[in-house]
């Protein structure tokens, strides 16, 4: 408490959350098309991404149904290949990356005490490009859906082997979502660099904002490479060039270009998830984040190293030993800052007084699941071991632990955490717990056994398999699990829809948060803040609450959350 500087004048007035200078917000359904308000755009991003998440989830369930029995004939190989291609593309390009942009859009200005993003119109452009990318891609299912996998390896994706327009739709999607993310990233960067509240130096910026900053920088570095690569593929397919076809071109060039983008893309997806967890844990442990600087630094180090590990996706290609060894060691290095983060998060819980609300439960689930994805990554980084595991279900298990166990659980934690801010109402705790239970059980059943599937010899991307070893048993466990996972997700989505109308009124700061978004009504007025308080620590809202306590004599820790 001694850290709070009581001399600043503004603090005496700010404790009452007021929104007197609210501009009349535009209403009606047309306002969603014309808006440049970062909050509306953020909500549109979140909702659109969740719609694509549902579509990608339905595709996943169909994939699991086909694999539920050996030698199954439910789906044709053509349909099956299209399904996993669309599933992968959807989850990466249309769900995880844009939903992080959604969180960023909604929260970055609020967390740094700004009234909007730096370029509100570019922000709207960014959203509409993302939607257009998704629409043109999904339109291809009515013509000739792509079947070459979301990695689009050449020569398979070349015209000679994939004559249909599905690959071109995929290229179009990569371009449109790429422009969307580039425009959005520049916007995030400029906003974060220039529009922070007085007193909010780099060392007091919320960790979520740190991760969005790094997310933006990684996108700016990685997207031009994939844009170039897909353009080269497009000219190969239609304009007579030969970048990726032997004898003149080289299929491995595609892999290098793709993964130079593709691996940073993994961190583009997971770093904001780290940011969400870093916001949730200290709030519900009632304790400052452990090692703020270490976590922020680890984010930067992971992003930097993330640019140097791409060829660990290529350990089985004909590549020189020195390449294999370099990329094994660089992948090892990235485990260190990642481990540091996990230790810091657990240390944040240590000696706290943990309040078990839904956001925290999801964050803990994230910790316990992401750890498994991190550990299985070590196996894959050791290239002789990867020679056995590469392109098998072990890899499928690994990246689903990272992207679902890590990404999706953090995303749902974030949705529960900021739902009261966005909607003004509380989500249903009981339903959240049931949903989490199904999701956790479902994920474990679906993906834990997939490590064994890979070890038992099952490659990825096969539409049928013979029942050799325990393949059918393992696949059935996985298929049953996928329905639990699906049910859990549906329960949470239902919770959000229902609570938006019927939930208890949240008030500005229902969780006793640490950051500035809680210092404004829920939902926030169009101008966000009438007055931006001076920031004196990494927990400005905690400082403000203490200020109130001192002046009013009422301790906020007494109005516990348990009653909600």
């Amino acid at each position: 408490m001694a850290a709070v500087d009581t001399t600043a004048q503004s603090v005496t007035r700010v404790p009452q959350v007021l929104a007197s200078k609210v501009e009349r917000p535009s209403t009606g359904w047309t306002s969603w098309f014309t808006t440049t308000d970062h909050k509306k755009i953020g909500i549109m991003y979140l909702v659109t991404a969740l719609v694509f998440f549902i579509l990608g989830g339905v595709e996943a369930l169909m994939i699991r149904l086909q694999l539920g029995a050996a030698d199954n004939t439910l789906l044709s190989p053509q349909v099956y290949n299209a399904l996993f291609t669309i599933h992968g593309t959807t989850m990466v390009f249309l769900f995880v990356v844009p939903i992080m942009a959604g969180f960023g859009n909604y929260l970055v200005p609020l967390m740094i005490g700004a009234r909007d993003m730096a370029f509100p119109k570019l922000n709207a452009l960014s959203y509409w490009m993302f939607l257009a990318g998704g629409v043109v891609f999904y339109a291809s299912i009515f013509f000739s859906p792509p079947e070459m996998g979301w990695t689009a390896y050449t020569p398979l994706s070349e015209k000679a082997f994939s004559p249909g327009g599905g690959v071109d739709a995929w290229i179009f999607l990569a371009h449109l979502t790429g422009i969307s993310s580039l425009v959005g990233s520049v916007n995030f960067y400029v906003t974060i660099a220039n529009m922070r509240a007085p007193g909010m130096g780099w060392g007091r910026m919320p960790l979520f904002v740190w991760t969005i900053l790094i997310y933006a920088i990684l996108l700016i570095l990685a997207l031009p490479v994939i844009a170039a690569a897909v353009t080269m593929l497009l000219t190969d397919r239609h304009f007579g060039t030969n970048f990726f076809m032997p004898p003149d071109g080289d299929p491995l060039l595609w892999q290098h270009l793709f993964w130079f983008f593709g691996h940073p893309e993994v961190y583009i997806m997971i770093l904001p998830a780290f940011g969400i967890v870093s916001e949730i844990l200290p709030v519900f442990a009632r304790k400052p984040i452990f090692g703020y600087k270490a976590i922020a630094a680890a984010t930067v180090v992971i992003a930097f190293l993330g640019l140097l590990v791409w060829a660990h996706h290529m350990f089985t290609t004909p590549s020189p030993s020195v390449v294999l060894i370099f990329f094994m060691l660089s992948s090892f290095l990235i485990a260190i800052p990642t481990g540091v983060k996990i230790f810091n998060w657990i240390a944040t819980l240590w000696r706290g007084t943990i309040v078990f609300k839904s956001p925290l439960l999801f964050a803990i689930a994230f910790l316990s699941l992401f750890l498994i994805g991190g550990i299985s990554g070590i196996f894959l980084a050791i290239f002789p071991v990867d020679w056995q595991l590469h392109d098998t279900y072990f890899v499928v298990a690994h990246f689903h632990y990272v992207i679902v166990g890590g990404g999706v659980f953090a995303i749902f934690g974030g949705l529960y955490y900021w739902f009261p801010k966005i909607s003004g109402r509380m989500p249903n705790e009981r339903l959240a717990q049931v949903s989490l239970g199904f999701m956790y059980l479902g994920l474990t059943l679906t993906f834990l056994i997939q490590h064994s599937l890979g070890l038992d010899g099952m490659p990825r991307r096969i539409y049928e398999y013979q029942d050799i070893g325990n393949l059918e048993l393992y696949n059935q466990i996985s298929t049953v699990g996928s329905w639990f996972l699906g049910l859990g997700i549906v329960l949470s989505l239902y919770n959000f829809v229902r609570s938006a109308k019927k939930g208890a009124i949240a008030g500005p700061d229902p969780w006793l948060g640490n950051t500035l978004e809680w210092f404004t009504p829920s939902p926030p007025p169009q101008n966000n803040f009438d007055e931006v308080p001076r920031v004196r620590s990494i927990e400005p809202m905690k400082d403000i609450r203490r200020q109130v306590e001192r002046q009013s004599g009422i301790t906020s820790d007494d109005r516990e959350l348990v009653s909600h």
């Binding site: 190989p77 053509q78 079947e147 070459m148 390896y153 020569p155 398979l156 082997f161 080289d250 299929p251 442990a285 009632r286 304790k287 452990f290 090692g291 703020y292 600087k293 270490a294 089985t316 290609t317 004909p318 030993s321 094994m328 060691l329 090892f332 485990a335 260190i336 540091v340 996990i342 230790f343 657990i346 819980l349 240590w350 000696r351 706290g352 007084t353 943990i354 910790l367 750890l371 498994i372 550990i375 299985s376 070590i378 196996f379 002789p384 071991v385 020679w387 056995q388 590469h390 392109d391 098998t392 070890l455 038992d456 010899g457 490659p459 096969i462 539409y463 398999y465 070893g469 325990n470």
Partner: protein
Amino acid sequence: MAPTATYPNPRRILIAAFALAALGLLAFTGVASADLLTPQSGGSPNADDIDTLYKIVLVLAFIIFFAVEGVLLYSIIKYRHRKGAVAAQIHGNTRLEIGWTIGAAVILVILGGVTFAMLPGIRNPPNSQANGYSGPGTEPIKFASAADRQPPNGRALRIAVNGQQYVWRYTYADGDKNRLNNVFAYNTMVVPTGTTVTLEIRAQDVIHSWWIPQLGGKFDAVPGHTNYTWFQIPEDKAGTVFRGQCAELCGRNHANMIAYVKAVTPEQFKLWLAAKKRSIDAANRDVIAQRKVLFPTAADKATQDSAVNPTP
């Protein structure tokens, strides 16, 4: 702050949870095959070495997993909110943080060391066994590239593996320059036991990936490139058929691109090779004869005419 009576002792919960997890794991391992937790092996020393390396990593992984999940579980049970409890306002601990950074680095240095120690056994083929096969196809090659690793004495049975949608074709080296008279086979590769077999892996349309799990790791067949690997099947495995399949998406029937490696004794292999050679030579002769009928030269015409209309 002692826990209230309504809550069981956190340490006891922890121990119970661990015991349950361990028991469940053991029970499951008993029910399922050995490949629940480890890669397949047993067909070749490189596969066995990868399996050993994997198991070393697995032991470390389990230690890290149980330690971290244990601490996590302990802290959420021990430090759950209770009336009157006050959270420690700690912002960090530099010595602790440096400590676990170094700890993580040390584990990775150990893993790197073990990997480098085991790498030669995985990548470098040994000589064939004394009673292995040593006939045609095992002649030492003069100019092997660095990636094309050969046994110390240079003698290994060389087979070219070619991936195409959706079959594998194997061409056996025979020591001469003519590539048209080589023995070849589709899908099932017949190989002698006790003999080092080196593979040159190529593709002619899209990328495929050669993978027989029990004979070692997978190696991509990339158009325009050559990839290399090897295996040596122990003598007691004669008669075994090893199964594998293409591991890189190569089109609609990727799932049906199966490969078999059939191990036979060196004597059986010689017989098989000779029989194959005879039938291929016979087929080649037939082709030459047919070509003479379909695309005859002037000289051929003369002999054909004399055959059809023999001079009286």
